[in-house]
Subunit: 451 residues, 2 copies
Amino acid sequence: MEQKLQMLLDTVRKLIRRGAYPNLTKVVAKSHPADVAHLFRYLDLKEQRILFNLIEDPETAAYVLSELDHGTGAALLEQIDKETITEVLQEMPYDDAVDIIRNMPEELAEEVLQIMQDEDSEEIEELLKYGEDTAGGIMVTEYFAMDEDQTCGQAIQALQEAEDVEMVFYLYVTNEHNHLVGVLSLRQLLTVPASTKLKNIMTRDVISVRTDMDQEEVAHMVAKYNILAVPVVDEGNKLMGIITVDDVIDVLREEATEDIYKMAGSSDEELLYGFKSFKIARLRLPWLITNLFGGVITGYLMWRFKVTLKEVMALISFIPVITGMGGNVGGQSATIVVRGFATGRIDFSTLRQVFLKELRVGLIMGVVCGVTIGLVAYGWHHNPYLGIVVGLAMVTAMTVAATMGVLAPAFFKRFGVDPAIASTPFVQTANDITGILIYFGTATMFLNLLR
Amino acid sequence: MEQKLQMLLDTVRKLIRRGAYPNLTKVVAKSHPADVAHLFRYLDLKEQRILFNLIEDPETAAYVLSELDHGTGAALLEQIDKETITEVLQEMPYDDAVDIIRNMPEELAEEVLQIMQDEDSEEIEELLKYGEDTAGGIMVTEYFAMDEDQTCGQAIQALQEAEDVEMVFYLYVTNEHNHLVGVLSLRQLLTVPASTKLKNIMTRDVISVRTDMDQEEVAHMVAKYNILAVPVVDEGNKLMGIITVDDVIDVLREEATEDIYKMAGSSDEELLYGFKSFKIARLRLPWLITNLFGGVITGYLMWRFKVTLKEVMALISFIPVITGMGGNVGGQSATIVVRGFATGRIDFSTLRQVFLKELRVGLIMGVVCGVTIGLVAYGWHHNPYLGIVVGLAMVTAMTVAATMGVLAPAFFKRFGVDPAIASTPFVQTANDITGILIYFGTATMFLNLLR
């Protein structure tokens, strides 16, 4: 699989370099649209432009666009004529088309919408009203729905004639006000006499979501109930669209990536910036500057202990290990809590248990590491008291760090701040400070024994 | 949604506390199996045991088990009689049943398999042969397949009579050797005359996976091709089972969690251990001990510079900020590279570009942070040269850290070590060491100006 793609990529790159565009057109036409879409990830914008212009089939072009991030998609379309743009956009699921239009310069977007002035465009303008990250923003309006008073025979006939509904899994049933009242699987349609009314065999307990529900919540729901598509309704329970499981997969992956980036003090916006270093640096800097001032505070505390330090220079040997280990343990606990919140495994009702667990784990690991570093300190500087001071400081610092790692994300979450972004710099700075205070505090107390 | 669940949880807890088991049984019977399954996440093992024993419907019990991790599932089953165990397991998808049996004590597992000695058990024993994380391990054997020489009318009839195939999306077509030769959507069946042979309308270009393919690879493929189910074949292209998209969602979520845990130096095995502190501490310790010795090396280097330090005690104020910022920047780059490898966004062919980008980003951020800390140092200790030394050290340390953050994960990946687990301690230690060397190196060079 991977090898096949690598070969395709090498071929395409070679042909682009040589400017062998007719050959390239043939290679693209022969490949699976998903493979072509995949190639685009490995090309730079210039190569992407060349290759995109050689795609002759609007369907393949649409496939490529729906796999790329929407900013790149808009950039690739901007260069071609407006008629082709609309042709390609019409091949795309409405939700993806809408996201790309959102990313176009306003003027172009309006022109494109004007050309598309038919049913399609109406649907697209409708979708543009919803927030990008809501159920309304990711739903498609190509679903299969019928009135509850129609029969199974009529439904099968409608299904045979349907064109736009590529992926049919469920038949949604509505009443005369277009309100969602039931759902049927296609198989159910086939297992009853053709004259049966839909309302007599439909499942009335339909799981649905509101247009304004956050996309992450939708994703968790689809994952939880193991359904392939979820209907989207407005506040009056009117059926507006459906969200299919393949879009849910994208949401879940994006979400995980987002959390991972945030925990490192960046943002998944980075992915849109490609290789634009200044924009990326601007994204990452606020978090770094916060940490910078945290580091200055820690440094200030060390400076206050300079008398102790000057008397027992050996103390300096263990500063990095004490602050570093505190940061590591705190980071572990914080990671587990942040991910727990994200996946729903941890909430405020189980937080006390989690806190006590992390406290115990921190203590156990603290004792192991404290004894180790105590022995190292004794062996190195030949002073048993130094070993005791370093070891004790390590145990305390690690235990405190583990509890901080639970409390900080929980605190941020309680006050509506995203724990993924807020926890790490806070936990790190807090741990550095407590680590230094504990270490030098203990050392100053036992100063006579250390000299 | 959330509120409804919270209410259900509160009710269930209250009833458990009161021992009001008849009421509890009623509440459970009335709720959606997915909601009951969800509740189990918030209960401790004792409460889980009580509640599980009150579930009367084997189907609901099966649902609960397939949502819980398999270790807990096995623990809940162990306490009930073997006939009920088999009854519940027979309600489950084979792949989940197999995973639970894997987690039972060997003796019990054999007894259960003996009781199930019928067709079911054969299928389960078959599945037990595959690795837990392979396509074979997560596939189900309830698929809908027919011979290519049969007609669409026969297929529709078979579909009407089918019982075991709850979720049918595709009809797989096989030849006389049971080799997979094509695929059809249910809608396609309805749009042609009943006498049409399957082989005349089937799509011959079927995307399939081998039984031994890694589950993550399967998940990426299903996500990439936007398909709802992928057929699994053996080395001879014989159809063995299918993997549906809901299992793929689980794989993708597990995988993201696994990576996040690994980057923090733990393992998703933690999730199986619940609140068992000693086992969890043992999982996290190896990574911490590695970092511990990294910290000792850094400390040793600082100790070697003790003469410089003793002469200019002000230098101590900036140790935490220099090593800390190096660690942060390196962590950011490493996170982006590790996640990029995991999602396929980065590979060895684009690594050079990524390296150059991170180098530029590191340099830009280094200059910003270097100027800031330089001014702080000057304002604080009233020595312009100290400002220059600290600022220069910061720029260098951050730029080097950013490049290390790319090189370390790439290096580990090249040599087959999981970059998620190996990168962080290595990057952190390497950055601490280079940070200290750069800082004290510069300071020692300009010692005359600093005094």
